[in-house]
Amino acid sequence: MIEIDVRKELLGSMGKMELDVTLSIEGKSFVALSGESGSGKTTLLRILAGLESARGKIRVDDELWLDGTHCLPPQQRGIGFVFQDYALFPNMSVLENLLFVRKDKDLAKQLLELTELSELTSRKPATLSGGQKQRVSLCRAMMNRPTLLLMDEPLSALDPLMRTKLQHEILTLHKNFGTTTIMVSHDPSEIYRLSSRVVVLSQGKVIQDGDAKSVLLRTQGSQKFSFEGELLDIVKVDVIYIAIIAIGQQIVEVVLDESEANDLHVGDSVSIGTKAFAPMIQGLKDK
């Protein structure tokens, strides 16, 4: 059980703001931390790691990590941390990176086998690919059998295929070790696949907190589909208007009437939903 009640003044993207988070996290759970950039996610993670100071209280099981302004140093917290840019030690081989944390060859071997890195144990980090580096970093974070595993956008620098593979490995490790995990992520599919709970931050405050499905599903009422996108252009064709909207990596056209066209402006964030029809799902042959 982890109880967090922290406050810290931050300089965010919109000037000064106060990070003020109260959370209680069950042991062995997997929590995803989401929200716009500059909302304080990384800072919260760094406060939990003891890398940044804050006021308030952090209690992990029976240990007090933060009490008022007294702060337990990161060395004594027994955590694992996975950085977005891997942060491996370039002077050490893959195995040495793991053994530096703790001289436990059996655990290192087990972790490297789970992540299919057994062949690369004597390689230096500079010779590995991004996905391999992040797997080493993940194994290294697990080496001291942490009570809490913190991951700061661990997969955001990787391509989609490698991301899916690593999501499976993170899940495998989580199941094998049962480590309480907090992961910062922006990717809804990643959050859905991995986490049991999603906490969304905005301007330093928790604005949503629930299971992945209730937080991530954007449909309301009788809506069947709902997507969020950016309005790129409105084109007038005879008497109707056509809006061109970017949704993720795709561009779609939607027909508008005149009043809708007058209300919307190019560059707006829009939500597109449909109601009351039975969608047909077909497999895509060319994929």
């Binding site: 694992g80 941390f81 840019d85 891997y86 942060a87 030690f89 370039p90 500079a126 290294r140």
Partner: protein, 232 residues
């Protein structure tokens, strides 16, 4: 010319290299901790310490020499302490030269080390703290092995700079043959007595050795960069 070469006194070179080796060894240990501390410090007073460390670069050697001479002499409490309590006289002898050189060459050791430490990714050091390692352990196991080019540069530049020092050595050491007369002082005295042939030989040797040392540093750093391919 050949006769001169055969009759040449090589002791000044030996004194120069002995002085430079001892100074470099002392400064390496002191500066390693100082540079590490400066690189990690967020203190408001950091610029003050950085300025004090860099002073010997901008001060005229005569000014620095004068202050060191005064501080080590019997007229100052420091000098008196060394002489009365420890029985060591620190002016016009080799020990005094070592102390003076340590002040004179300090920035040449501290600055490359500090910029080396500062170039390390912050996350990498934090990963070591999170792994439970102390600051000192992180310094020796993570920081130092990843700034080898900076270590090499700091050591060699400090060594070369100490060999090349003149003003401070002359003031604090006083050019006593076989004790404090270094190669650079010897050249000055040879020119003064218009023995240009010997001056040429001494100077030529200094140029050759200095060039060789610098060449080795640059070759080493080039190879290191090839091997590491930058920090990952």
């Amino acid at each position: 010319m050949l006769e001169k070469l055969m009759a040449l006194e090589f002791t000044p070179f030996l004194i120069s290299f002995k002085l430079a080796s001892i100074t470099t060894a002392i400064l390496f240990i002191v500066s390693l901790l100082l540079a590490w501390h400066l690189s990690q410090s967020k203190s408001r007073f950091k610029p003050i310490f950085e300025s004090i460390t860099a002073l010997p670069i901008v001060l005229p050697p005569s000014v620095l020499g004068f202050y060191i001479l005064y501080a080590l002499s019997f007229h100052s409490p420091i000098g008196r302490f060394f002489q009365d309590v420890l029985g060591i006289k620190l002016v016009f002898n080799f020990s005094g030269l070592v102390v003076a050189s340590c002040f004179y060459s300090l920035p040449f050791m501290v600055q490359p080390l500090q910029s080396g430490f500062e170039s390390l990714p912050k996350n990498m050091l934090e990963a070591s703290y999170i792994a439970g390692k102390s600051k000192l352990r992180t310094l020796f196991c993570v920081a130092m092995p990843n700034i080898k080019p900076s270590l090499m540069t700091a050591i060699v530049i400090t060594f070369a700079h100490t060999v090349g020092e003149f003003g401070v050595v002359l003031m604090v050491g006083g050019s006593i043959p076989n004790q404090t007369k270094t190669a650079s002082v010897a050249v000055y005295e040879l020119v003064e007595i218009m023995d240009y042939t010997s001056a040429h030989i001494y100077s030529g040797i200094m140029v050759f050795i200095s060039f060789l040392v610098l060449l080795l540093v640059y070759i080493f750093n080039r190879q290191q960069n090839h091997h590491l391919g930058g920090l990952s």
